[in-house]
Symmetry: C2
Subunit: 171 residues, 2 copies
């Protein structure tokens, strides 16, 4: 484990950040099953989170996986899991620019994490031939898709959930 | 693509199910960052979903990733992402035993999917030295952990979300 200092700016690690050496070999493999089409081609253009934007985005599934959309009619919300292929994976403590202090990776929704899987709940606007129109994404155009799951309010919705550091920031 | 028939029982594919040939090589690699400790050692013992059980389970992080828990104090709910290492990955249409008809994999929360990533919202009961006590899991003891994310009600909670086939089943 090593800590970022003022001399580590070349490596993109900020003061207060902590990195780890990742395992030499992966334990399991992922298949990219499609792509997310969004209006954003640079990170600066992306909304801070998907609920900040009304943009209609498109999920494009690769042909072999299109039959797996069967039975989605009448479903209003989905989870999309996708791969943050530009994010570093070795940060365990990071300093988000907007907060200015170090926090553990597992206390953050930052794309930088050991397994760079992002998770967004999206509203379903339409179902096409191997495509979905959705609202609620925040990622770069061309982001690789990993999975689609139905959103069950009975197991996925916790309206009173609190994120400790976020509450104290806004009080 | 091939469809399961009465002669395919040896391969665990039921009548009405559809499989695909998976890519020869993965597109990205996952690291197992810890294990989930639960009371269940066979699939039959596992609760149908995590909210059906009061069992207290333990998240055990591997040592390099423990500093990433910093800043979780006061956080009430987390997402756990974990790897369903016993599930087949080639089913695009499947027939869940309890429903008896074929549905697309992306309309289901079944562990069988191209990328066998499971997603559970859990209640945080305690934070230890590289461990978390949680309630709301439904998986086998020893399941590999992939990620931990804070649950933000502002982006993750959709109380009115509807799963089409599930609504018509219960009406």
């Amino acid at each position: 484990m090593s800590s970022g200092g003022s001399d580590s700016g070349d490596f993109g690690v900020r003061a207060g950040e902590v990195t780890v050496e990742l395992p030499a070999q992966p334990d399991a493999g992922l298949y990219f099953i499609g792509r997310l089409r969004t209006p954003w081609t640079t990170r600066a253009q992306c909304p801070k989170n998907g609920r900040d934007s009304d943009a209609v985005c498109t999920v494009e599934l690769d042909p072999p996986f299109r039959p797996a959309l069967e039975g989605l009619e009448g479903t209003t919300h989905l989870w999309l899991l996708y791969w943050m292929d530009h994010a570093p994976r070795n940060l365990v403590v990071q300093v988000p620019r907007q907060y200015g202090r170090g926090r553990g990776t597992f206390a953050l929704r930052s794309p930088a994490r050991p397994n760079a899987i992002a998770l967004s709940a999206v509203e379903v606007l339409g179902i096409g031939e191997g495509t979905l129109s959705v609202r609620g994404l925040d990622c770069l155009d061309g982001t690789p898709l990993l999975d689609i799951k139905p959103y069950f309010a009975s197991t996925d919705c916790y309206p009173t959930a609190v994120v400790g550091w976020h509450r104290s920031k806004t009080e």
